[in-house]
């Protein structure tokens, strides 16, 4: 993929972020107005939801707007997004965190097993299923990567 294509792809992502954050923002504003005019049925924790929607929406909107408008920021973020070492680090960190999550789930299963055996068995099944799915994904990806090539080519 050339640099221009990379920038275009990243720009599409930023536009999606802009749309999503504006939805958050609009929802937050609507809820805030409803809260101000004290409409019934919003619930006791509506202010918390409203504020979190407003804050998250506003921060995300500002960041994506700056990225979208400023060419140098867009280029810098695109470079960072497609950077080789960053991708490498992300791959490694996600595989390490996968094992951490597995260990954590196993620990929870053991702890729950002391109180509720059925629930623990269910959790253990989830862990096993996740492991099997992970192996299947690896197998499927290997198949996709090697599809179309001959497994053994000999030359005369």
């Amino acid at each position: 993929m050339n640099n221009h294509k990379k920038e275009l792809n990243f720009k599409k992502g930023v536009i999606a972020q802009l749309v999503l954050s504006s939805i958050y923002l609009v929802l937050g504003i609507v809820l805030f107005i409803l809260f101000l005019i004290k409409i019934d049925g919003l619930g006791s924790d509506s202010l918390g939801w409203t504020m979190s929607l407003l804050i998250v929406g506003l921060i995300a909107f500002i960041i994506s707007l700056i990225t979208f408008k400023n060419k140098s920021v867009l280029r810098k973020r695109t470079i960072k997004h497609y950077d080789e070492t960053r991708r490498d680090i992300q791959l490694k960190s996600s595989s390490y965190s996968y094992y951490f999550v597995m260990f954590f789930l196993f620990l929870i299963t053991v702890l729950i097993g002391q109180r509720n055996n059925e629930f623990a068995a269910m959790l253990l099944l989830v862990i096993l299923l996740t492991l099997v799915v992970n192996l299947f994904i690896k197998y499927a990806l290997t198949r996709i990567y090697t599809k179309g090539g001959n497994s053994d080519e000999t030359s005369e």
């Binding site: 470079i79 960072k80 950077d83 080789e84 070492t85 960053r86």
Partner: protein, 71 residues
């Protein structure tokens, strides 16, 4: 993989940031390649070689790999 990027950069009097910007990667990636912590992809190696007007073999040292190839 050992390489001559730092040498060539000094010859051309350009910074890591300038080179990184030209080949569309971060400065950290150039640092990692220079100190042999990361092996550049074929695409990046080609871009770096093209930037310096040299071939990939001129910049990257493949001698370690050659020992591993049994003919």
């Amino acid at each position: 993989m050992k390489n001559k990027i730092a040498e060539l950069r000094k010859e051309k009097k350009i910074s890591q940031t300038e080179l990184a910007d030209a080949v569309f990667v971060t400065r950290q990636t150039i640092t990692s390649i220079e100190i042999d912590k990361y092996t550049a992809s074929l695409e990046l190696a080609y871009k770096i070689a093209k930037y310096f007007g040299k071939t990939i073999e001129d910049i990257f040292d493949f001698s370690e790999l050659e020992d591993n190839i049994n003919e």
